[in-house]
């Protein structure tokens, strides 16, 4: 179990940093989708099965779709990528270095101080996701519904209604 977790974490870290450091938008988006997939696996391993499905389908699926559409709506990706060229390549190599350095320092500090947030609880509550979701989180469900309406309104506003300076 631990090995699976470490592998997933490694995947997420590598592709996450790659996504952040990448110059090209499409590559960033694809790397993000890979992070998402790795996270889905990780969640599955930890026992969050429904969340894992959501993560993989909605995030890696829908988010990528949004990006592709955004890119295609804005007539090709050349111009988009050209913008980040303004930042010299030399500078962008610092980002992975900083992140790896920060990670290493955190690791060492955590190891030296014996930092721990505890171990998994022995008694796992048998609560069903559906019950919890529809009862304990009913306010959240209501919020999601409203948020989706807001998203729909946003699409109407930004893609349908006319402009007015």
């Amino acid at each position: 179990m631990n090995i699976a977790i470490y592998v997933c974490l490694g995947c997420m870290l590598v592709f996450g940093v790659f996504s952040a450091a990448s110059r090209k938008l499409i590559i960033s988006a694809v790397a993000l989708a890979v992070v998402s997939a790795a996270l889905g696996v990780l969640m599955y391993v930890l026992g969050a099965h429904t969340a894992a499905i959501f993560e993989v389908s909605v995030c890696s699926g829908l988010v990528t779709v949004i990006f592709i559409s955004a890119v295609s709506l804005s007539n090709g990706d050349k111009q988009i990528e050209a913008q980040d060229v303004a930042v010299p390549a030399r500078k962008r190599r610092f980002l992975p270095a900083i992140l790896i350095g920060a990670g290493a320092i955190l690791m060492i500090v955590a190891w030296l101080t014996g930092f721990s947030v505890g171990t998994p609880a022995a008694a796992v509550s048998g609560a069903n996701f559906n019950d919890v979701f529809w009862e304990t989180c009913q306010a959240d469900i209501f919020g999601q519904m409203v948020a989706l309406i807001a998203g729909a309104s946003a699409i109407v506003v930004f893609f349908k209604e006319s402009e007015n300076e």
Binding site: F115, S116, V117, G118, W134, E135, T136, C137, Q138, A139, D140, I141, F142, G143, Q144, V146, A147, I149, A150, G151, S153, A154, V156, V157, F158, E161, S162, E163, N164, E165
Partner: protein, 486 residues
Amino acid sequence: MTVLQWIPHLFLALPMLALIVNNVIPRARIRTTTIAMSATVAGAQMLLALAGVFLLVESGESAVRFGMIWDAGKNVGYFQTDLVSMFLLMCVGMVALASALTALTTIDDHRGSYTNLLMVMMLGLNGMLLVRDLFSLYVFLEVTGLASFVMIGMYKSTRDLEGAFKYLALSALATIFILTGLSFLFIKAGSLAFDALTPALFSGAGDGSTLLCWAALVLLISGYSIKSGVAPFHSWLPDAYESADTAVSIMLSGIVTKIAGVYSLLTLTRLFDGIAPLKTVLALLGMFTILVGALLALAQKNFKRIAAYSSVSQMGYILLGFAAGTNLGILAGLLYLFSHSAAKSAFFTNAAALEKQLGTLNIDEMGGLQKRMPITSGSSVVALLSTAGVPPFAGFWSKLMVLLALWSAGLKGYAAFALIASILTGAYFLRLQKKVFFGKPNPRWDAVVEITGGIRVSEILLTIVTVAVGLVFPLLLLYLQRAGLI
């Protein structure tokens, strides 16, 4: 079920109903009708919440709990409303009413989504006030934010979109801060319900998860501060307010930042009562905010931008009230929030009137408009006096209460600072009044006439609220005292 138990349901049901009705009926032809409908919903909410406050006080209970429709039988109660949230629900109703009335004039025929978005925003704000779970609070915070982004960018002009985008980018950062904080708290507490979050979370010394809780507190304060526009997290705020349509600015300035940011901070102080650094940090942030907001307001030329920076500055006083930590302090902060909501909404309706009649908001181009627009001028003077804390307007009393709360909580230095900083408030508002309404009349505006319609109604309404609340304030205090709240 008593009336009191029914009222909270309506805060979620009414806007939702309005949303459905608005989208079932073909919108394009009946813009005014739909906006009037949203105004009705807002007004109803204001009156219901007002009634709710009194009913709640009279009933002697501390809170009312209720669930969603599909939970009708179990009666566990996932929402709750207490006096604080009931009072703030009333403020939401009042400001939304002012916004809708202004929108009758300012929103054009192609903005069919205004009503939808206003209702979504109201749902988000009401939701924030009704939940009793920090995560749900975040959900509705995000909903409110989403509605705000879209509303700011509604006209899709260059400036609108810029304001919206800046708000969104800062909000993204805030989302990261807040969610990280929440997940840290979740790791320690195992739940994010208000009942599970107590100051005891911070007591396990040396434990890794306690450290996470402290980190969570820092992250949450920063995140909510971004949402509330507290300096130095405020930079998005003037841009968003300036670019948005005035009806939207009223909402943003009058209530959104107050509920989304300040109410969340208040929730933090109420949950983690007794955590010393929390209050000190809030007080310091408040002081810094008062100063920076006032200084920046002094240098502005745009009417709405001055109002925006003034909002920033006034936010500091509310924070100072909460930082006092006592019951009196919280009450003072809430009353300050209310009087400031009324005054600032009035200011933005004035801005709408000026923009509509003059076509510009540059105060250098104005002058001597007092004769041409007496109602706008009068309303703006009342709002100025109230904000600057001149008796007998509502702002005076609430500022006095903030000062008293600080003084009695032993934060005398902060009280003195708040008092001195009031001079700056007076300074930038006097500068505004002098340039816009008094001073030498600009011949360019000889043909300008007073505004009519919804904006005028809104101006008069808010001015009446400011004056009336100021006049009955001593009675209000007596009432609160009788109810045992101060």
